[in-house]
C-alpha cells in the first residue's frame, strides 16, 4: 500500500522543495552571477514516464504544471503544457532507446535543457527578459543543467528503485 502512495507523495515533496532550493540562487561564482534553476519534479516525472507509465506521468505533469503556473508564474498554460509534453516525449522515446539508468539520466537532462530553451524563447518573445542568448547559455542553462545532473546522479537510482518496486507490485497484483 505505501509504495503506491509513495510515488505521488514524492512528487508533491519535490514540487514543494523546488522553490526552497531556488532561494539559494542566484549565486556568485568566479565573479559571475549564475542562476541555478531546480527542475526536480520534471526529472522525476520523466523517470516515471520512462520506467512506469506514460499516461500517469502526463496526468501528473498536467496537474503539477497547472499548480506551478498558478502559484509561481501567473501565466496559466505555460508549464501546464510543457510538463505533459516533456513527459509524453520521454515516454515516446522508450520505444527507440535502451532503458539503462545512465542513458535515462542523460535523456532526462537533455529534455529539461530543451524545455529551458523553449522557456527562454517564450520569455524573450513576451519581453520578460532581454538577456542575450550567449549570456543565457553561460549564466543560466549550463549551470542549471549541471546542477540538475548532479541531483539526478545522486537520486536517480532511488527513483528507479522505487518505481521498479511499484511496477513489481502491480505485476503481482495482476497475477
Amino acid at each position: 500500500m505505501w509504495i503506491r502512495l509513495t510515488i505521488p507523495f514524492i512528487a508533491i515533496v519535490l514540487f514543494l522543495l523546488e522553490p526552497e532550493f531556488a532561494l539559494f540562487s542566484p549565486i556568485e561564482w568566479n565573479g559571475e552571477i549564475i542562476y541555478l534553476v531546480p527542475r526536480f519534479l520534471i526529472l522525476y516525472l520523466i523517470f516515471i514516464s520512462i520506467y512506469y507509465s506514460r499516461k500517469r506521468a502526463v496526468t501528473y505533469g498536467l496537474f503539477f504544471g497547472l499548480l506551478y503556473d498558478v502559484f509561481y508564474i501567473d501565466i496559466i498554460g505555460l508549464y501546464t503544457v510543457l510538463y505533459p509534453l516533456v513527459c509524453y516525449t520521454a515516454g515516446w522515446s522508450v520505444k527507440y532507446i535502451h532503458q539503462h539508468l545512465s542513458i535515462t539520466t542523460i535523456l532526462s537532462v537533455v529534455l529539461v535543457a530543451l524545455m529551458e530553451l523553449i522557456l527562454y524563447y517564450f520569455f524573450h518573445f513576451i519581453q520578460f527578459t532581454t538577456l542575450p542568448f550567449k549570456e543565457f547559455l553561460l549564466i543560466r542553462l549550463i549551470p542549471s543543467i549541471l546542477a540538475n545532473l548532479l541531483y539526478l546522479i545522486m537520486l536517480g537510482w532511488a527513483f528507479k528503485y522505487l518505481i521498479d518496486a511499484r511496477v513489481l507490485q502491480k505485476a503481482r497484483e495482476l497475477s
Partner: protein, 304 residues
C-alpha cells in the same frame, strides 16, 4: 509519424486555441487573482509554509556555521566601527528630538517617512527565476495591500504585486517590468538629487537610476534612498549605493548605476512597510492620465 484521426486533430486545435487564450488572458497586467487562482495559491501556500519552516531552519544552520568561521575578522571590523557608532547615535538622538520639536511647532503630524512595519516570512521563490518574485506568508487578511514596499533590514527589495487572503507576491527590484519604477533620491553632501529607478542592467546586476537633474553633482559611493514621492513607498528606505554616474542617452539628464544594499539571494524574513501618509492608489505609470488619488480628501486639492 503518428496518425491523427479527425477527432484528435480537432481536439488538438481546440486545445491550442484555448491555450493561447489562457496565456493571453493571464499575461494581461492583472491587479487581482481570480477566485480559483486565489484558492490554489492559498492552499499551495499553506503546504509551502509547512515545508519552508524546516528548510529555513537548515539554511539557518549553514548560515550560522559560515558566520562562526568569520567571527574573528568581523569582530575586529565591528570594534572599529563601534566607536563611530556611539558618536553617531548621540547625533541621531539630538536630531530626532529636534525634528519632533520642529514638527510640533509646525503642527505637522504625518510624515512621508512614517510606516507600520509588518513582518513576514518568505515561503517560496519563483523556481524558474525568469520573473523575479518571491511569495510571502502574509496576505490581505493581515492587512497587506498591493503596491506596499517590501524590505529587509538592509534595504528595499521590492513591492507587493499580487495579494490573496493568506499569501502575497513580491515583485523584486530586479525586474524587467518597465512599469516598475521607484522614485528615489540621492543623499549628497549638500544637495539632494531626485530620480527614478527604472529597470536594471542584467550584465552588471545593478539597478539603474534615471532622470537625475544634470546640474546636480552626484558622486560614486553616495547612498540612494526612496523619496516617498511616488505615492506608494514611505520615504527614506535605503536602496543602495552609487557605483557609476553617466549621462543618459539624450544628454539632458544623468543616470547612475546602483548596487543594491539588500542581499537578494538568501531572503528569509522581510518587512512590509505600510505607509502612514496618504497612499495613492493604482499601478504606477501605465501611461494614463487618470486621476489616481483615492479621493481621500487632501485639503486644498479641489472638489470634484
Amino acid at each position: 509519424m503518428p496518425h491523427f484521426s479527425n477527432k484528435k486533430l480537432i481536439i488538438l486545435l481546440v486545445g491550442m486555441i484555448l491555450l493561447v487564450a489562457l496565456i493571453s488572458f493571464s499575461l494581461r497586467d492583472r491587479q487581482n487573482a481570480t477566485l480559483p487562482e486565489q484558492f490554489i495559491k492559498d492552499s499551495v501556500g499553506l503546504a509551502q509554509s509547512v515545508v519552508a519552516k524546516p528548510a529555513n531552519y537548515i539554511t539557518g544552520i549553514f548560515y550560522n556555521i559560515q558566520s562562526l568561521l568569520n567571527t574573528y575578522e568581523e569582530n575586529q571590523r565591528l570594534k572599529m566601527r563601534l566607536e563611530d557608532f556611539a558618536v553617531l547615535q548621540a547625533e541621531v538622538n539630538t536630531l530626532k528630538s529636534e525634528n519632533e520639536q520642529l514638527r510640533e511647532l509646525l503642527e505637522k503630524k504625518d510624515s512621508l517617512r512614517d510606516y507600520d512595519p509588518l513582518r513576514a516570512t518568505v515561503i517560496a521563490r519563483n523556481p524558474d527565476q525568469w520573473e523575479e518574485k518571491i511569495i510571502i506568508n502574509k496576505g490581505s487578511s493581515h492587512g497587506v495591500k498591493q503596491n506596499m514596499a517590501v524590505m529587509t533590514t538592509k534595504g528595499l527589495i521590492g513591492k507587493i504585486s499580487l495579494v490573496t487572503p493568506f499569501t502575497s507576491e513580491v515583485e523584486l527590484l530586479y525586474t524587467n517590468n518597465p512599469n516598475f519604477r521607484v522614485s528615489a533620491m540621492v543623499q549628497g553632501e549638500k544637495v539632494v538629487a531626485f530620480g527614478l529607478i527604472e529597470g536594471y542592467d542584467e550584465e552588471r546586476n545593478e539597478l539603474i537610476l534615471k532622470r537625475i537633474d544634470s546640474s546636480i553633482e552626484i558622486s560614486v559611493g553616495e547612498k540612494v534612498v526612496t523619496s516617498g514621492l511616488g505615492g506608494i513607498f514611505p520615504k527614506g528606505i535605503l536602496i543602495g549605493e552609487i557605483t557609476e554616474v553617466t549621462t543618459e542617452d539624450f544628454g539632458l539628464t544623468k543616470m547612475a548605476y546602483i548596487r543594491p544594499s539588500a542581499d537578494f539571494s538568501m531572503l528569509e524574513e522581510v518587512i512590509i512597510a505600510k505607509r502612514s501618509a496618504t497612499v495613492i492608489d493604482g499601478s504606477d505609470g501605465d501611461g494614463t492620465n487618470a486621476d489616481l488619488t483615492n479621493n481621500t480628501g487632501i485639503p486644498g486639492e479641489g472638489e470634484e
